[in-house]
Subunit: 410 residues, 2 copies
């Protein structure tokens, strides 16, 4: 006997290759423990619903989708950057903002000052907002510590948030994000520290599943990033790359060379980089919040990405400096409006493909028997409405790991 | 004795000309019946707080702002336009969308089919989303009926939503929005109907406070709009204009000529139109949701608007076709990111100036003794964070007309 049976639902399974959105009308979803036991048309159920499950849930015709997967966040940080945003929107230069005490260094200073518990407490409202909007798995990066102890502290805070909210947080060591002030005259020394101490320590402590690097003119060179990624592979960690956000500096090709799970941003990637991503099976993660907040006008090369068959994910990029976005459905709407993603690409981008960007496609991202019982009930008539409304509130209930929660307290 | 006294709050009164944001630190706010009785530094209270009010509320340091005023919405409509958005984002032309059964005519068809009660029921979740995000007064336009009975039905539905949610809805007859199919060969006949029957009927029934027109190449000419606006003035109704959204067709100047409360959109307004708005004291209402969803690249002329001293408001433009936006704080974030509004301009734009765009500046839009007790408590450290976060959830409580509500059930 199943634990739960959901009936009178319209299910967008997000399984590719079948009906658009993997849509199943007049469907039913069965849950056993923390797994999907059965999903399909209610008419195909093997017996009357009442006889099949301990709990029978009426969906009242609501739309069900897989739980959303936010595959790129910087959830953990101290302080905010609202002043930077205000200055930048009015045309202040990066230098003027830094002079006013802003920029990433201000976030680093605030983050270093806080304890694990304080960092987790600051992140909780943001994490709750993501969960209330249907996120059931989220990636969280370090990258504002910039020394070994502070980077590990961020990863511990991410783990603590996961425990406090009973949600799976996939931790990523953002090993090369910015050069800390104390290494301003010694770039190689900082990369040495990352390669010889930080990556081994994070791996040994089991605090990260992947290593990420910011390959950009204002951040780290391709060679510096390659050193860190080699170290990641040596320690058995997966690889991700912040690639080509502000210029075509070879980030996509670098990601492909290391078989990265994902290459993220990609506004300035050229055809060669895109082809390389396709060959390596790397997911392209689009981050439309930063595009909006930075007033960017160069869109990621969607036509090339589609032509080469690169899988497309969308994430919030939740961070204080360039994307203070706490709603993945809003990030999806921004991707549809700004980048021209179709509704069907959009659903896959925040479920099936986002799971793949975390290496979790075997257990998440679609509604299929055997996968984790992570799904959302939406007050929406059709999956194309996900990422159409600008404003949250459509998520009515979340089932996470087989446990039912009202969205407001997800 | 006051009815309520709120202490340990940081108040952004949105009163202009003083401290930025009208900020008062360590403040207190007193309420008598449905009015603000007192606001200022707690140290200036005339007696110990406990002796002053029947109810003492602890703000725990939270930010208090005036209740938000959404001064431009099309809240009432049947159906949705998610399919249009999906097609348009992928590059479909207006004609292709119309052929697929989309466009404004599909909204008109859905709207005409529904009763007053059905229209109100469809609008309730959208209105609740606005209220949960801090809106305490909202304007609602007709404009999807396009015949006398259907236009009045929409205004009655707006009134019903106001009664059901106990919120003040300011109704506007959007008299010239689109030419109904049945008048395709008789533009003048439709304008006659609007001038001779619709406007008089709405005025006689007390169903509208203002008349709005869509002055645009794809909608109505300046002369057609002028006829409707003259009729509005003759019937004692205020005037608003959808102006220069897609081309500089003299909409701003028309609004100024009729002393309009507001001219809305303004992406293509030229210097002369802006100067005319300044001279007439007309508010410029910026609608960044439509700018985003339409992929517009021509920004409203902010520099000219500022140089001429035109007051700036921001609204959701909530509508199914071009701005399905149910969060005014999100609209504010879009205005700040896309148009470069400063944080301080932004707070005024959704409070003080928005109230003026509705002719309600005497009773709303700032926190001052004598005004209506409409205010919000936010989980934000500083008013510049309003319209910084992309995603709702920061509004913790709302006081509307002196009644305290949790934001989730506002």
């Amino acid at each position: 006997m199943w634990d739960q049976l959901w009936v009178d639902v319209r299910v967008a399974t997000a399984v590719g290759g079948g009906t658009p959105f993997g849509l199943v009308e007049a469907a039913a979803v069965a849950v056993s423990a923390d797994r999907i036991a059965w999903v399909g048309p209610a008419a195909a159920l093997p017996a009357p619903p009442g006889a099949l499950a301990r709990q029978l849930h009426q969906g009242h015709g609501r739309l069900v989708t897989p739980g959303l997967v936010d595959c790129h966040t910087h959830l953990i940080f101290g302080g905010d950057r609202a002043l930077d945003f205000d200055l930048r929107a009015q045309g202040a230069t990066y230098a003027a903002i830094a002079t006013a005490g802003g920029g990433i260094r201000s976030t680093v200073a605030h983050t270093r000052k806080l304890s694990v518990a304080e960092l987790a407490a600051a992140a909780l409202p943001r994490a709750r907002a993501l969960l209330a909007d249907g996120v059931t798995t989220l990636e969280v990066k370090s990258g504002y510590g910039l020394d070994v102890a502070s980077e590990l502290k961020m990863l511990e805070a991410a783990r603590l948030v996961g425990a406090q909210l009973d949600v799976e947080i996939v931790p990523t060591l953002l090993a090369l994000h910015a050069l800390p002030a104390e290494f301003a005259a010694d770039r190689a020394g900082y990369v040495d520290l990352v390669v010889r101490e930080l990556i081994p320590a994070a791996a040994a402590a089991g605090l990260a599943r992947a290593v990420d690097v910011f390959c950009e003119t204002i951040a780290f060179t391709r060679d510096e990033c390659a050193r860190a990624l080699r170290a990641a592979r040596e320690h058995g960690l997966a690889v991700k790359v912040h690639a080509d956000q502000l210029s075509d500096c070879g980030g996509a090709a670098l990601a492909a060379e290391f078989g990265a799970l994902s290459a993220d941003h990609l506004e300035y990637s050229g055809e060669a980089g895109v082809a390389a991503l396709a060959a390596s099976g790397t997911v392209a993660v689009l981050l439309p919040g930063a595009y909006l907040m930075l007033g960017e006008t160069q869109r990621p090369p969607l036509a090339a990405l589609r032509a080469h068959g690169v899988p497309l994910a969308v994430a919030t990029d939740l961070n204080p400096g360039t994307s203070p976005c706490t709603s993945l459905s809003l990030a999806l709407a921004l991707a549809r409006a700004q980048f021209g993603l179709s509704a069907e690409e959009g659903l896959a981008a925040v479920t099936r493909v986002a799971a793949r960007a975390l290496g979790l496609e075997a257990s998440r991202g679609t509604l299929e028997a055997g996968k984790r019982a992570d799904f959302c009930l939406w007050d929406l008539a059709h999956p194309r409405e996900l990422g159409y409304w600008l404003g949250a509130g459509a998520c009515q209930a979340v089932v996470r790991g087989g446990r039912v929660r009202a969205a407001a307290t997800a």
